[in-house]
């Protein structure tokens, strides 16, 4: 049995490892388009901040890990898939036949098609190559403009400030991280950033990038021009499905799959940022583009590729980020339930918002509260009925741990998710 895994990010690598333990005799090829060993995009901000070197971004640290697990790593780019003939076309290595194929090609950053957006000094932060370009320009005292204050933008914000650049942030929406935080939480985050010397321009849209005499400027639609030595784009991502055009594999915003991560083509599966997988909260199929979902998809797709018939219950959309020391997190359906509870301490930069359907937690946001945050996921995913604890939480949402332990009736600890 030959399993071919296209994409060497967290989804692809997790899948390869699960296939190895599930089918000890299978042949496994792991193909990634980048020259480096399989690495983690999530770790790039910590390369920027100088906390780790390039090897610190690698997904696996043991030398010879892939060879020891008989996973053949190939550095090449797929250009086409031919499902009928179970064949994949690679740019350098020609055709490869597969018995089962996993598409785990991730996503790519969207670069707005504006005048000057291809100028030298304008980069996304998506690959190790991008990170090296940014490091070369983001010297202490340099001026940088960050386009986009979504969750990846806000993580980059922290890394850039750590490098000592003078940073301005431009966000199209009327608040920071609009897809993860409500107005109150986003307001706290903004105030925090501004009090740490980072200028945030919301409801501001980039119209062009100007380059005169080697000096960059971000031109905004409101007429302002922000001078910069470096412009970083974090304005959203798009699933890498281009090479699937014409293959007959169904695609919407990502590769479409069923609950077994199986695409519309026989023996072809999809996982991670490229995949429109099942969302736990809504039951709908969406691209999450986050690490936990990529790993869950990879592991589950692999089991299904090995003939284990396991349905995906859905992944919870969730995020955590640290912006200059202020930690915020959001989970599931944070923006709507039938009941909600709120704890707010703006002076202390603390905020907790819980959303319920009946007595079940369905979504949450937390700012400035870092202890036991995982319990929010646990409560959502176990659909634990809170019973009398819900009333207590409505009164004081910070009693979460008590509610969890109390409601799961496991005064010791044997609840299963």
């Amino acid at each position: 049995m030959r399993h071919v895994i296209l994409g060497a990010g967290p989804a692809g690598v997790s899948a390869a490892e699960i296939i190895r333990v599930t089918e000890p005799d299978a042949e496994i090829k792991l193909i990634g388009a980048e020259p480096e060993p399989p690495y983690s995009r999530m770790a790039l901000p910590y390369l920027l901040s100088g906390r780790i070197d390039a090897a610190g971004t690698h997904l696996r640290k043991t030398p010879g890990h892939y060879a020891a697990n008989r996973i053949e790593v190939i550095h090449d780019r797929a250009t086409r898939v031919d499902p009928a003939n179970h064949t994949l076309m690679l740019a350098a290595n020609g055709n490869i036949r597969f018995d089962k194929l996993l598409i785990a090609t991730g996503a790519s950053p969207i670069i707005p098609a504006l005048p000057g957006s291809d100028s030298e000094g304008v980069y996304p932060c998506w690959t190790l190559a991008d990170a090296r370009n940014i490091i070369a320009r983001a010297k202490a005292g340099a001026k940088a403009v960050l386009i986009g204050a979504g969750f990846i933008g806000c993580i980059l914000l922290e890394a850039l400030v750590t490098r000592g650049v003078r940073l301005q942030v431009v966000e199209m929406a009327d608040r920071m991280i609009p897809r993860m935080l409500d107005r109150t939480a986003a307001g706290l985050l903004r105030q925090w950033c501004e009090s740490h010397g980072v200028a945030i321009h919301t409801s501001a849209k980039l119209s062009a990038i100007d380059q005169t005499a080697g000096r960059l400027a971000a031109q905004l639609e409101n007429g302002r021009a922000l001078k910069a030595d470096l412009i970083i784009i974090a304005a959203g991502v798009r699933a890498n499905t281009q090479f699937l055009q014409g293959s007959g594999i169904d695609i919407d915003t990502g590769a479409l799959v069923n609950a077994h991560l199986h695409t519309s083509a026989e023996d072809i599966y999809a996982a991670g940022d490229v995949c429109q997988g099942r969302d736990f909260s809504t039951g709908q199929y969406d691209v999450h583009a986050i690490q936990p979902t990529a790993v869950e998809h990879g592991r589950l797709a692999a089991l299904n590729m090995c003939g284990r018939n396991i349905a995906h219950q859905g992944s919870i959309n969730m995020n955590v980020l640290d912006t200059l020391g202020l930690v915020s997190a959001s989970f599931g359906q944070w923006d709507g339930g039938s009941d909600s509870a709120e704890f707010s301490d703006p002076a202390g930069y603390r905020y907790l918002n819980l959303q319920f359907q009946e007595d079940v937690l369905t979504g949450a946001q937390a700012v400035g509260l870092i202890e036991h945050v995982g319990i929010l996921r646990g409560l959502i995913q176990s659909r634990l009925r809170l019973g009398k604890w819900q009333a207590r939480l409505l009164h004081d949402p910070t009693r979460l741990m008590e509610a969890y332990i109390g409601a799961s009736r496991n005064i010791s600890f044997f609840s299963r998710v």
Binding site: A43, I370, G406
Partner: protein, 154 residues
């Protein structure tokens, strides 16, 4: 035979010796806030519940880590944080559904129970035997019994 922590909450008096012992071993300070085992107080019921990582088989924290900074210690079965690898991204802290891996703002890495390499301080410090270190099989059995008991009594 691997051993695991087993908690009998009804024996806990809320003295917090376990938190002090744990924080001292992990961080070199007597500070409950830095303990990997926490005792939760049920004010209304007047009860206490020590709570820490079960080293669960699902190992959500380990699998989600983007830089292999959490590894399985084959000698103890504990999932351990490798301090030099952790970048402090915190994705494990939201992935763990039990909330038992937490971010340490001073050290800028996450921390969790590692069962002290096989000789847990919390067990030794507990004056009432509320925290035990037993063969994993035994705790599995008692866990099942207790669960069955609850089903019957609820």
């Amino acid at each position: 035979m691997l051993k695991s922590l087993h908690i009998e909450a009804e024996k806990c008096t809320g003295c917090l010796q376990c938190e002090l012992a744990c924080s001292y071993r992990g961080e070199g300070v007597f500070n409950p806030a830095k303990s990997r085992i926490r005792v939760f107080t049920f004010h209304d019921e007047g009860r206490f519940a020590p709570y820490t990582c079960t080293q669960c088989a699902e190992a959500w924290c380990l699998h989600v880590c983007p830089v292999e900074a959490i590894i399985d210690n084959p000698a103890t079965g504990a999932k351990e944080v490798v301090a030099g690898r952790c970048v402090g991204c915190k994705v494990c802290t939201i992935a763990c559904p039990f909330g038992t891996i937490n971010y340490n703002q001073d050290r800028k890495i996450v921390h969790k129970c590692d069962m002290c390499g096989g000789d847990p301080e919390c067990v030794k410090s507990c004056p009432t035997g509320a925290i035990l270190f037993l063969d994993a099989d035994q705790t599995g059995l008692s866990r099942m019994r207790k669960y069955a008991g609850q089903q019957i009594h609820s």
